[in-house]
Symmetry: C2
Subunit: 241 residues, 2 copies
Amino acid sequence: MSVPVSSGSDARTRPLGPKRVDESFIVERIYNAVMEHRLAPATKLNELKLCDTFGVGRMRVRRALLLLSNQGIVDLETNRGAFVASPSPAEANEVFEARTLLESAIAHCVVADIGSENLDMLRQHISLESAARDNNRGVDLIRLSGEFHVKLARASGNTILWRFVRELVTRSSLIVGLFGESNHMVCPKNEHSNILAAIESGKPEEAEALMIEHLNRIREGLNFSAPKPQEGDLAEILGLK
Amino acid sequence: MSVPVSSGSDARTRPLGPKRVDESFIVERIYNAVMEHRLAPATKLNELKLCDTFGVGRMRVRRALLLLSNQGIVDLETNRGAFVASPSPAEANEVFEARTLLESAIAHCVVADIGSENLDMLRQHISLESAARDNNRGVDLIRLSGEFHVKLARASGNTILWRFVRELVTRSSLIVGLFGESNHMVCPKNEHSNILAAIESGKPEEAEALMIEHLNRIREGLNFSAPKPQEGDLAEILGLK
DNA sequence: TCAACAATGATTGTTAACAATCAGTCGGGA
DNA sequence: TCCCGACTGATTGTTAACAATCATTGTTGA
């Protein structure tokens, strides 16, 4: 558990070419780990372990953790350290309220603006999702389900909206991990492709309505009376494979 | 210019009671200064001066600057330091696109949810705005014009949306400072009160439409072919009066 | 057996010094 | 006069050591 992961050592021993490991790299990695449910809520994020994992000094790690805490992905407790955030039910409601407001508007607007290359990207994404679902690749499916929303926001061409949605989707991943009922699918089967279909056929109102329904369905799959305590292993999870 | 400001020294000499100066305090101060056009785009944010101003160590200042850069308020240039951001025209368009999308939806939704105490708050705000306009209190008016949007978002009761709008409004302040035509008023005379009226009378579509118009009007007041270089004095600007 | 408590190790928060880079000045030469 | 380069002070980036706090273990006593 506390054994330095080989990939971590790699990061320190070889400079990884011209790639510089800055705060955003660490933030990115933790974002991805949360999105894929590899980092569970309340997991302790030990500074030294993160230093080993990424091969950087403590300052970098602390700065990255500060950014993450600012985005609601990490909780910083004074003198106790950093933990993956455990959103409260109230917080969860805020996140989904904000998502509904933001993403429904995006779904509406994107119909007019979207270009063919972005449509292709989304189509390709849907096929990846289907494949992951058919092959029972649970981890991939979880990640892809969230990524659809992020890619749709990206298709809006607005990097600010993209960033906002990305934050909210990642926080949703924590929320689902905490309150999601295990038997309930993360994102029901055809909803993403239905949204895409509405976009393709140029129906903004329908795309918007479908997005709202979709988010409500996810929300209904939450059970706030059943918080799940979990345990994370950290070094291995974040290792640079 | 480089003289340590009295208020800055105050901050260091007296502990200011139980008030602890952490990153968010510094971030808050710089946010306010930008909102009030007291910090112009491209102003150099010298670390030591900020340390003196707030009476904290360099670490705190650097962490605050990191947060601000993450929110598009500050640009960090390696080995050159921190500068108040100078949004490009492309960035400006993104900000206003995002604002239109977000704030129109907020204006729509808030009609159903808003409570009387929030309505009162907004009414009171409008009267402050009017007073500032009538008395030619330019600085106050600038601040209040932006704050209306922030308060409206706050009235939605969603702290996430509030944070997003706050960031965008603050960035807008920089944009207006760079590209705004001086003779053009920041926020035309009655538009805020018209929006509030629509909300009060329970007309979500009208509130939304007015908000969109309002933001477009601000946008039309921008002139991207005329960037204005400006100079800031910093220590005095941020001093704890 | 259990609870309170002290001691120790681990982890975080902070400071200070050092290294590296930048910006502005001065001087020399065409 | 103008341009180029070395030099110096200022500023930023980084590291390491120190201080403070927390968590855990082991002990004592009822």
